[in-house]
């Protein structure tokens, strides 16, 4: 990781990779699990937290479930 491009100021490859990964996941309706956990911990301390797998399934069902406007895609 010592090449010139990687050490250019303002270019953070880890951040870029994370954004690309998050972006790809959100395109298919999968939100950020870590943000979800952080949110529940911060706001609803006593609430149960879904595991990563449960979160995945819940999002999958939400995308195609009743009132399924989430799965609306264009022509």
């Amino acid at each position: 990781m010592n090449c010139t491009i990687c050490s250019l100021p303002g270019l953070d490859l880890n951040r870029l990779a994370r954004k690309l990964r998050d972006g790809a996941k959100l395109m298919v309706g999968q939100g950020d699990y870590d943000a979800y956990v952080a949110h529940i911990r911060a706001r609803h301390e006593s609430a149960p937290i879904m595991t990563r797998d449960e979160f995945f399934r819940a999002r999958e069902n939400a995308r195609f479930g009743a009132g399924g406007e989430r799965a609306f895609r264009c022509c």
Binding site: D22, A35, C74
Partner: protein, 685 residues
């Protein structure tokens, strides 16, 4: 410095358009089209969208968005603007911007280019941006809901009903595109069929073997897809296997109808979701590679800038430039469906309302660029090849000799050898009358991509890759769309029969799915047996429906601007709304009443009725009973057009009432979500 740079960009755009317009006879490089497009987008984004953001809407970064106010870690989550841009773009990009411009290329590339660029700047991107803004200020509510609260209950129900009928036509026409692409093509049919077991395998993998690993399962699925394309060649060359995957259009239509039914009632993780992953990533990947291909190859546009078919006599779709070019291009310039996406998940994830400009306006510019690339892909073909692929057998006959003679007589010289040669190159028996846009786009993409990677030896691979890519995401729209239509039907009828609205009970689920499937299946079958190709009839219906939905969405924007007491700036929404009303109403009236049976449904019905009276048969009918069915279908299509006209005229009436009420009121009457924090501070000037 900056003003000078922008003046330079403007000059470059004008010069590019000039170069595109004046070339007579010799091919122009695609570079000029790309330059004109990107320059126009830059100017539009920098100046017009900024004007809308700052002056018209007064976007306020301090105002709390639904994502902040209702953050639940699930649906309402403040999200990075680049990540959200990707999400929004993936939701709005589909087959529409790819197919429309390919069909519009029959008039030459210039009319299409001009509408794509003006349309997106002043109509399409404005609609997406305004609806996203309106929904973000109202808890991320949906279009139907917004119309209900801003305009009243009746317009709300009308809009919901409109959305449902538009959905049905959309699914029918997209299914028809797939049928046209796969009929009599064992290679194509095999690869598309192979996606079913691949998706099921991915589903099981992601559910039980490695739960939630989307990246892994998509990578495995992608490799399997490539293998199935490679093996498809073997299938198409095998005397034993090829007949198993050679289907007539009618058979494919019934298979698709069955598929739509099954896929939308199965558990989503098994088929629907994994297909969605595969098709979404493939779609984004292919769009990026096409852009890369064009930037590497810089192909010449062989299509004339303006063809003789601007007079409305073209074989691809009937009707003159106005209104039918604007109906045909649809999604790349302005698409009503985007209003559903912009009032769907995106507004619930915006962390700062000033980002609605980048996401709403920006993503639509990118969609328009996809349409420009499709136009380029269609225009790099020899015009003779383009017309051979997009004209119905009734016009050009079924053999290369007959087709070459017919097309050459239209003034587009082409030899039978060229037509057979192109077919052989892409690994198909024939390319004649492969209407629907998808195969044409695939040949154009194969031309561009094989010039970049692999040479002509790879052309047949790229062709089938492109076919697979289009079929895959169209099928994903069909199964997910059928499911959405089912929920809408249950919602609509559930108001009258509560038991029917129970989405967890099997009987109403199956019944609503059957209604949805037979709705689009009816129009699909009608299109498949049409001797003029079906696209001819259905695409304009879809275009009218889609543009009318845009008119309805923009009408809401006008009303909201009046209720915000921003009528000074309401013209940004009034201008595109008025244009869409003029275009769609003219087109709908012509589709119903035009004297030319190629355009007017009633004229077509009269022609068949007159023949039936004399006991004559006209193709495709083979019996008098079939003649009656053709006539009946014409009346169904005419009625559908009439319903659309009634819907938008009713919306116009409700809008005028709402605007008068808003003008009479002394205060802001719009119903935005209260923002306590915001109300304590004076608004920014």
């Amino acid at each position: 410095m900056a003003p000078l740079a922008w003046a330079l960009v403007f000059a470059l755009v004008l010069f590019s358009l000039y170069t595109l317009a004046v070339s007579r006879g010799e091919p122009v490089n695609a570079m000029w089209l790309v330059t004109a497009a990107i320059g126009t987008y830059a100017i539009g984004y920098r100046f017009y969208s900024r004007f809308i953001a700052e002056r018209v809407l007064g976007l306020d970064a301090r105002r709390r968005t639904p994502a902040l106010r209702r953050n639940d870690g699930l649906d309402y989550v403040p999200t990075d603007k680049w990540v959200l841009f990707g999400h929004h773009f993936a939701a709005i990009a589909g087959a529409g911007p790819l197919v429309g411009p390919v069909l519009a290329a029959q008039m030459g590339y210039l009319p299409g280019t001009l509408w794509l660029l003006t349309g997106v700047i002043f109509a399409g991107a404005v609609q997406d941006f305004l609806i996203l803004f309106i929904s973000t200020r109202r808890d991320g509510r949906s279009l139907g809901d917004l119309i209900k609260t801003e305009m009243g209950r009746v317009p709300g129900v009308i809009a919901m009903f409109g959305i449902l009928t538009i959905m049905i036509i959309l699914l029918a026409v997209l299914a028809l595109v797939v049928v046209k692409a796969l009929a009599d093509s064992p290679w194509g049919a095999f690869t598309v069929f192979a996606t079913l077991p691949i998706a099921v395998f991915m589903g099981v993998y992601g559910r039980y073997l490695r739960p939630g690993r989307i990246g892994e399962m998509s990578a495995i699925g992608f490799v399997l897809l490539l293998l199935s394309i490679a093996f498809g060649r073997t299938v198409s060359e095998s005397a034993l296997l090829a007949p198993l995957f050679t289907f007539k259009g009618e058979t494919l239509a019934f298979m698709l109808i069955g598929y739509g039914f099954v896929a939308s009632v199965l558990p989503v993780w098994l088929l629907l979701a994994p297909r969605d992953y595969l098709s979404t990533f493939l779609k984004i990947g292919t769009i990026l590679s096409l852009a890369l291909g064009i930037f590497i190859v810089w192909p010449d546009l062989k299509m004339p800038s303006i063809s003789r078919f601007i007079d409305g006599t073209g074989p691809v779709f009937a009707g003159s430039v106005f209104p039918f070019l604007f109906i045909t291009i649809a999604c790349g310039a302005v698409s009503g469906f985007h209003a559903l996406v912009s009032s769907g998940t995106t507004p619930k994830m915006i962390g700062d309302e000033t980002q609605t400009r980048f996401i709403g306006y920006g993503a639509m510019l990118m969609e328009s660029f996809v349409a420009v690339m499709a136009l380029i892909a269609a225009s790099v073909l020899e015009p003779g090849v383009y017309f051979a692929m997009n004209s119905a057998p009734a016009l050009i006959g079924g053999t290369p000799d007959a087709a070459a003679a017919a097309i050459s007589s239209w003034g587009f010289a082409v030899t039978p050898e060229t037509l057979s040669g192109v077919a052989a190159e892409v690994g198909e028996k024939t390319i004649l009358s492969r209407t629907g846009g998808a195969p044409t786009l695939a040949v154009g993409m194969a031309h561009i991509l094989s010039s970049a990677v692999g040479g002509s030896a790879m052309r047949s691979f790229w062709y089938h890759f492109a076919i697979l890519f289009e079929a895959l995401f169209i099928l994903t729209t069909i199964d997910a769309g059928t499911r959405v239509a089912r929920f809408m039907i249950q919602d609509l009828f559930g108001a009258f029969f509560p038991a029917f609205g129970n989405t967890r009970a099997w009987a109403p689920n199956l019944a609503a799915t059957a209604i949805a499937v037979s709705g689009w299946g009816y129009f699909l079958y009608q299109g498949v047996i049409d001797p003029l190709g079906g696209i001819n009839t259905l695409w304009p219906l879809f275009g009218i429906a889609n543009q009318m939905l845009a008119a309805i969405a923009l009408t809401l924007c006008v009303v909201v601007l009046y209720r915000m007491k921003r009528e000074r700036y309401a013209f940004v929404a009034i201008a595109p709304t008025a244009w869409l009303y003029i275009c769609t109403l003219t087109a709908a009236f012509e589709k119903i009443f035009h004297d030319d049976p190629r355009i007017g449904f009633l004229a077509h019905a009269r022609k068949f009725a007159a023949a039936a009276d004399k006991e004559q048969l006209l193709a495709p009918a083979k019996t008098l009973a079939e003649m009656q069915r053709v006539i009946f279908n014409d009346y169904v299509d005419a009625t559908l057009c009439a319903i659309y006209v009634t819907l938008v005229l009713a919306m116009l009436g409700f809008a005028i009432r709402a605007i008068r009420a808003a003008r009479a009121a002394e205060h802001v009457t719009t119903r935005e979500t209260e923002d306590e924090l915001h109300d304590l501070q004076p608004a920014r000037a």
